[in-house]
């Protein structure tokens, strides 16, 4: 049995999405910048996709700018704001648990002379609004807080953060790459200025994303050149990708509540049964304020990569916050930020569900995982001490 439970890493392209894309990979190949009929078809298609995405965000189509992915959108929002407003101030506020696309962009800016405050989070992964208020200075130009975390699924109080940003007249960006397709975001209500999203997290193709840029917000370009995307993002458009993104967004928001209910039920079933069966297990992230598709557990005394390899051998695809999967020394910065010790962070497992996930797949995981954990614990020198009662 093959069970994919890594939907937060990426999702398959839905058949309807691929179908929408196909004409633009075959006969309709024109460049939207061209005047002739070959180009006009492509231009129309990009407009349709822009409308589809705008609708899901209750935004105007001219607030949506396509990019080459979520990371580009994040880099654009952050560096574009920083460079545009540097004469006003050089202080940025973000959190310790952002995706690397935000964190490393901020770290880069620090080297270029900007100051960055990384807000800590509590053990459930939430920032404190008090901390945020205290961090705002007269030269703060940007607040960037992710909507939901990609590892532990914790959902931040975006509306409250946005209100604070507004009060202080600071621009507010949110990385909603993991949220888009799960939660309703109404830009007419939500006080956000910029939102990063990415197609491949909601059954669209990889390599296409978008930045929502509220009308009137001026930031510098990241990619200069041709006049595409209202001169804000140059480069011949990835038409097929953009069309797929539009279709995927439309599908995701056709009945997002049913999607949420179905996944929440499956998620809780998976989480509860694993926690009941496997001792020395903890749930990472917030118990309630979390993405409907995210289970993140730490199994003490064992290490993530060996768990992933074992799961892979029985056909289960998952992910871990262990250093060893990436070859870097430290385990996930998110797990450390919520206060896990290195050992426990190493033993974490992320299972993320999606539209193709079935109860049967969940049952399979609940059957396969406990003996894997047990086998690895039996090999672990740390577990010995527990058995000997030294703990």
């Amino acid at each position: 049995m093959n069970v994919y439970l890594d939907y937060s890493a990426t999702t398959p392209v839905k058949p309807e999405v691929l179908e929408a894309m196909m004409p633009f990979l075959t006969q309709q190949y024109g460049n939207p910048s061209s005047l002739h009929r070959f180009g006009r078809e492509s231009r129309k298609a990009v407009d349709v996709a822009r409308d589809q995405i705008a609708k899901t965000l209750n935004a105007s189509p001219d607030e949506i700018f396509f990019t080459g992915g979520g990371s580009e959108a994040d880099n654009w929002a952050i560096k574009g704001t920083a460079y545009a407003l540097q004469s006003k101030g050089r202080h940025i506020i973000t959190t310790a648990i952002e995706h690397h696309a935000v964190l490393h962009a901020c770290e880069y800016l620090e080297k270029e002379g900007f100051q960055v405050t990384y807000l800590p989070v509590d053990e459930s992964g939430l920032i404190s609004l008090e901390d945020l208020k205290n961090a705002i200075k007269s030269d703060t130009i940007l607040i960037s807080v992710m909507y939901a975390n990609n590892e532990i699924g914790t959902i931040q109080p975006i509306e409250e953060i946005g209100r604070i940003a507004r009060e202080h007249r600071v621009l507010f960006h949110t990385d909603a790459v993991q949220t888009y397709g799960h939660l309703v975001m109404d830009t007419k209500q939500l006080p956000v200025d910029m939102i990063s999203i990415s197609a491949h997290k909601l059954y669209g193709p990889k390599g296409v994303g978008a930045l929502y840029l509220r009308k009137g917000v001026r930031i510098h370009n990241l990619i200069h050149g041709g006049g595409q995307e209202k001169k804000k993002r140059a480069g011949t458009e990835n038409i097929a990708g953009i069309v797929g993104f539009g279709k995927a967004a439309e599908l995701a928001y056709t009945d997002v509540e049913a999607h949420d209910q179905r996944l929440t039920a499956l998620r809780d079933n998976l989480k509860n049964r694993l926690m009941e069966t496997i001792p020395y297990t903890r749930l990472n992230g917030h118990p309630e304020r979390r993405l409907c598709n995210n289970v993140n557990l730490s199994f003490e005394f064992i290490e993530g990569e060996s768990m992933l390899l074992s799961l892979d051998m029985v056909g289960i695809g998952a992910s871990s916050g262990s250093a060893c999967t990436s070859g870097s020394l430290d385990p996930s910065h998110v797990l450390l930020a919520i206060g896990l010790s290195h050992e426990i962070a190493h033993g974490s497992l992320r299972l993320t569900l999606g539209d193709m996930t079935t109860q049967e797949e969940i049952d399979y995981v609940v059957e396969q995982l406990p003996p894997i954990v047990q086998r690895l614990r039996d090999m672990s020198p740390l577990y010995e001490q527990v058995k000997e009662g030294n703990r």
Binding site: F301, I302, E303, G304, E305, S306, L309, M313, S322, A323, C324, T325, G327, S328, L329, P331, S341, H342, E343, H346, D378, M379, S380, P381, L382, E384
Partner: protein, 147 residues
């Protein structure tokens, strides 16, 4: 990313376990780095008659422990001390560059155990000349990055 040999040793590791009345025990690494390797030895007439290990670590750490213990079982102490991490990695048909340190851990676990043996019996071994037992907290290994 891993060779078949690594996966085979990861799936069916040889010599997992403990030895209650071990003649030597070595432990290296620390949980902070995500690796701990512990080895237990039965030694008769300077020959390793039995060896067992316990490892907290990634696939390549487990496979390295398994392969290293296989390679030294039945060998003399001097032969075991001559085992290099490279030999362990080669026996596994290679390890990815970022995982080479997992084989270093195996080499160090053996040395640490032999040091324990040497101390218990007031002995000296050629292969332990200049050996410093790990203090337990240092960042002894380097996850070498490409570039």
């Amino acid at each position: 990313m891993y060779s078949e040999k690594v996966m085979e040793h990861f799936t069916n590791p040889r010599n997992v376990g403990e030895i209650a009345d071990a003649d030597a025990i070595g432990q290296v690494g620390n949980p902070k780095c995500g690796d701990i390797m512990k080895m237990y030895f039965k030694i008769e007439n300077d020959v390793i008659v039995d060896v067992k290990f316990k490892t907290f670590g990634c696939g390549s750490a487990i496979a390295s422990s398994s392969m290293a213990t296989e390679l030294i079982k039945g060998k003399t102490i001097d032969e075991a001390l001559a085992l290099s991490n490279r030999a362990v990695a080669d026996a596994l048909d290679g390890l990815p560059p970022v995982k080479m340190h997992c084989s270093v851990l195996a080499e160090e676990a053996i040395k640490s155990a032999m040091f324990d043996f040497a101390q218990r019996h007031q002995r000296e071994f050629e292969g332990l000349k200049g050996y410093q037992p790990p203090t337990g907290d240092e960042d002894h290994h380097d996850h070498g990055e490409e570039e």
